[in-house]
Structure formats: C-alpha cells, structure tokens
C-alpha cells in the first residue's frame, strides 16, 4: 500500500460526510491536473474541512502501516488538517515530474504557518524526496517551532537527505529550541565526533551562563566519550547537581558510550530514586535515543 492510501484510509473514518465528499471530488480534480493557483487554493480550502486543533490520533496498526510505506514516517502527532493537506499533495498524478515540484514550491512560497507544516510533512512521502532538500533546509531555518518540528521530527527526511552541515544544525537546533530530539528519526545512525564537539561547546556555554544543560544534549555524544566528554558528563552526574533530569539523561549517555563500568560504580552510591531508575534502565540496555522518550513523562 502507498503512503497516500494509508493516509486516505485514516481520513475516511475521521472526516465528516460532507468533507469526505469534498475530498473525493477535489482528489479527482487534482489527479486530472490543476493549475498551480488552484492547487494552492485547495491547500488553503482544506482548513474548511478539517481542524488543526483535532489530532489525527492514528492507532497502532495505522502507525505500523505508515512506517511500512516509508520507514521513519510517524504520523503519531499529526493534526487532522495537516493530514488532509498531505493527502491533497499526494493526490497529484504527476508527483515524479517537474510540474509537481514547481507546484509544491509555489505552495511553499505562499503558505501560511499551517500550510507550511502540511507541506513539510509531505516531503518524505514524495517520490525522489531529495529534490526538496534545499527546501527542507530552509524550513529548518524557521523561527516558528511548529514549522521546525514538522520539517525535522517524526520523519526520515533529515537523516536520509541532509548534508553534514544541515544535519548537525538540525540536531543542535532541536536542543536549542527544546524540540524533543529523541523524535529526530535516525539520530543514532548519524552521530559523529564533530556533533559531539558541538554539543559539548553548547554545554560549556550554558554552564558559563549559569544555566542548566538541556538534558537531550547528552544524546549527541553517542559513542564519542573522549576525555572532554567524560569530564562534562561527570560534572552533570555529580550528586550536587540539582538538575535531576540532566543527571538521568547523563546516565543514559554513559551507557550509550559503553561506559557501563562507570555507571556500575555510580549506581552504588546513588540516592535519588529517579536517577537510580534511569541508571538501572540504562544498564539493562535502554541505549537507543528513543529511551529519552521516558524522560518527558515526569
């Protein structure tokens, strides 16, 4: 099944009857070929048929089906309106052709905030997504967190298509603006010594400014636990550090860097239950970046 069909089926059970009828009609119209102005108009008109305040809330089976069509595509946090806009994009019958590329670029050019999210979310589902690599990079330069998250999170696009510079910027920007880095798909496949260096520089800046270090920063170290990284982690893990969330994240970072020897030493004297629990979990093998999901629920 294609991404289009998976999403279309999800919408079938979630749109009202009049909106389903509308989507059926415009889907056929788009497939027949529409002007760029009409295409952009339909992206706007979608807001009259689905609300941004309503979550798509896909079920487990639907999420699995989505991930089967494009690995890394996770519509778990999409809104109904975003989903409808993506279906409108995917309804084109010329998606592999230059005409679709130009029409989608027109869409970006005149988009409002909600349309930007819908358009960015569609990119990984298009044929030859790498055509839109510059556009996605532009999306990451946004000042609107909602738009940044639509470009960067729950999609395989950055990990698959970004060059080294854009990739590292996307990672550090997540930390900088507080977008959940564990939702950046493929993080663990593109860790590097230079990314670790950027993260450690940021940790130094934060400490010089008398601020806490964002806990997800420690995800960036991965296996690159050299002397500098260890010193920075030890500082974070210090029992005198009242930023417990940071200590828990640093515990995972030790395990991610295969320093379970140090973790086993530290756990012996650890007094705070939540930090102990993180250390135990890390020692038990929770070392993927997704382990950080749990740190958002407390």
């Amino acid at each position: 099944m294609s991404s289009y069909l998976v999403l279309r089926q999800m919408l079938e059970s979630r749109l009202t009857q009049p909106s389903r009828k509308w989507l059926k009609a415009v889907g056929a119209e788009i497939a027949d070929g529409v002007t760029d102005t009409r295409f952009c108009g339909l992206l706007s008109l979608a807001s009259r048929h689905a609300r941004d305040s309503v979550a798509l809330e896909p079920g487990e089976k639907e999420l699995e089906a989505a991930n089967r069509t494009v690995e890394g595509w996770n519509p778990e946090r999409w809104t109904l309106l975003e989903s409808l806009r993506v279906v409108i994009v995917l309804s084109r019958s010329d998606l592999s052709e230059e005409s679709a590329h130009l029409a989608i670029e027109e869409g970006f050019r005149y988009a409002d905030e909600g349309e930007l999210r819908g358009l960015y979310r569609s990119l990984a589902l298009l044929p030859d997504p790498e055509r839109f690599t510059w556009r996605a990079g532009e999306g990451c330069r946004t000042n609107m967190r909602s738009v940044f998250e639509a470009v960067a999170l729950d999609t395989p696009f950055p990990a698959r298509y970004f060059d080294d510079v854009a990739w590292k910027q996307a990672v550090i920007k997540c930390i900088f603006i507080g977008a959940p880095l564990w939702r950046l798909w493929g993080l663990d496949t593109r860790l590097s010594a230079d990314l670790a260096r950027m993260a450690l520089d940021l940790a130094d800046e934060r400490r010089s400014a008398g601020r806490t270090v964002q806990h997800e920063l420690w995800l960036c170290l991965g296996p690159h636990l050299d002397g500098r990284a260890m010193a920075s982690l030890e500082q974070e893990l210090d029992p005198g550090n009242s930023h417990t969330l940071g200590r828990r994240a640093a515990a995972y970072a030790l395990a991610r860097g295969e320093r379970t020897d140090r973790l086993e030493e530290l756990i012996k004297s650890e007094k705070i239950p939540s930090v102990r629990a993180a250390m135990e979990d890390a020692l038990a093998g929770s070392t993927a970046s997704s382990a950080f999901r749990a740190l958002y629920h407390h």
Partner: protein, 297 residues
C-alpha cells in the same frame, strides 16, 4: 547619562519604546539590516526594507530625539537562498554608501554553510574596498566556531580588525574576539544571549576596552532599555563610571565613527525634539500636539 545602543531593530518597536529609550538616555542607535522573522521571497522586499532603514525609520527615531544610523547588508540566514542572495548582494552597494550608513551588517554566519561564507566574504571585501566598518552577527548554534571562522576570513582578506565588530559574544567567545583585535559586542537579552549580571562580570574580568553593550531588541522578547539598565547595574556592582561610559557609549561611537558617517560634534549636543517635522508629508503624530523641546537628559 547618555547611551549609544549600537544594535537595535527599531523598525520592530513602537513609539512608546522610542519615548522610553529617549527618557532613559538613549541618544543614538544603529539599526542593522537583518531578517524579518521569516524568509523574504523577492528582491523588492529587500529593496523596500533597506530603503526604510535610511528613510522612514531614521525620521521616526529623530522625532523622539534619537539619532538613527544603520548598517546595510545581507544577513546570514537569507544568504542560503542563493539565487535571491546574489540579487541582494548586487543592490547592497546602492544602499551601503548612503549618508548615515555606518557599517556593512549584520552579516556573518547562521548555520555556517558555504552559501553563508560566500555572502560574508563578498560583503567583507566590499567593506574593505570602501573603507567601511563591518558588524558581524554570530550564530546561535556552534557560536564559537562561527565567530572564529568570521574572524579568520576577515583577517585573511586583509580586513582591518579595528573596523570589525563581532556581536552576540558570550563568556566562551570573548577571548577569541579580543585576541584577534576586533571589537566585542554583547547583546543583553532577558533570557538567552547575555544577562546584565553576566555582562558586569565580563567587564570586570576583561576591562572595558573594546567591549560594547547593545540590546539587539527586535520583534522577539527583548528589551530596548537593555543598555541603560545594564549601565545602572554596572554602577551598582562597583564598576567605574568610566568603564560604564566606555561600554555603553564611547566604544560604540569610536568603532562606528570610523565610518565617517557620524557627526560626532552634533551628536554630543543635546538633540532637539521637533515633532512638527514631516517626512514625505507624513508625521509620526496621530492628532497629538507636537512636542518641541530638548531631550530629557
């Protein structure tokens, strides 16, 4: 006291802000060209923006007794839209040599890409050829590397370091900036770049020479009174009045007066407020009685 805020985007601020700034002693500002919060898509948008900096915004500030200078340049973020960026680079010289344009800026790095480096290099070269000052924006992410890169490029182009102002420094970057011989500016933001307390510590540690305080107030959460507030705190924390004067007035003046575009003698006089003036038949007033008086400090 009188203050010089050498980095503020007054186009994003209200007349209330301008009034409060003047009342707090802000006598002069520099408004560098930057991005407007979202990417522009046409050359015309840049043309009109640059034009407003040397036109309406200068007039608007003057109506509150504030001398307004500006810097013209293509910012780092929008340098990444390479086609449009090249068009913008072609019109930068049309505005950069106008009266009252004290620098090329703010230019520099955002993501430290090749496109950003191209735009930065072109503009530093233009500044060197025209004996101009350059105001450098430093990145949020990978700041230290971005600053060192912008210093190295300028040095390698033979750009005089005494005409280079590196902005948005922090504790981790100030030493590099000073060692290269450039001016080190600090943006005082309530929550992110630099707070007033930290600024006091930096002035204590490094001394006031070549350090500049600015607000970079814009459309985001920021404070157009950052410079006078920081000056007050510096005095409370025991810094000498001379150090405060250097970091909140004289250093900025010395750095940017190198452009020859600041009439220093006129600036040292108390500027009059005369709201009976019009700009292209437009007034900043909305039916109020015009104020004609001296600035309050």
């Amino acid at each position: 006291m009188r203050f010089f805020d050498p980095h503020i985007h007054v186009t994003s601020r209200t007349t209330d802000d301008l009034e409060n700034m003047a009342a707090a002693g802000v006598r002069a500002v520099i408004e560098p060209a930057f991005w407007v919060g979202q990417p522009r898509t046409t050359l015309g948008a840049f043309t009109d923006y640059f034009s407003s900096l040397i036109g309406w915004e200068r007039f608007r500030a003057s109506q509150f007794g504030i001398s307004h200078y500006c810097a013209i340049g293509l910012n780092s973020k929008e340098a990444n839209n390479e086609g449009l960026a090249r068009e913008v680079l072609e019109i930068v010289p049309r505005f950069a040599l106008k009266e009252g344009v004290v620098a090329i800026g703010e230019i520099g790095f955002d993501e430290i890409t090749a496109a950003e480096e191209f735009a930065y290099t072109e503009q530093v070269q233009f500044a060197r050829q025209n004996d101009m000052v350059v105001m450098v924006h430093s990145p949020h992410r990978d700041k230290k590397r971005g600053i060192v890169r912008s210093l190295e490029i300028a040095r390698d182009l033979g750009f005089p370091m005494e005409k280079l102002v590196i902005d948005h420094n922090n504790e981790e970057t100030v030493e590099d900036t000073l060692e290269f011989g450039a001016w080190a500016a600090f943006t005082i933001y309530p929550h992110t770049k630099m707070g007033s307390e930290r600024m006091c510590e930096i002035v204590k540690k490094y001394g006031p020479e070549r350090l500049i305080v600015d607000s970079s107030a814009d459309w985001g959460v920021s404070d157009p009174l950052s410079v006078p507030k920081t000056a007050k705190l510096m005095l409370e924390r025991g810094l000498s009045p001379e150090a405060v004067e250097l970091t909140t007035w004289q250093n900025a003046l010395d750095a940017y007066a190198q452009s020859g575009q600041i009439d220093v003698e006129a600036l040292l006089q108390k500027p009059p407020i005369d709201q009976t003036q019009l700009y292209a038949d437009n007034s900043v007033l909305r039916g109020q009685a015009p104020r004609v008086e001296a600035v309050p400090n």
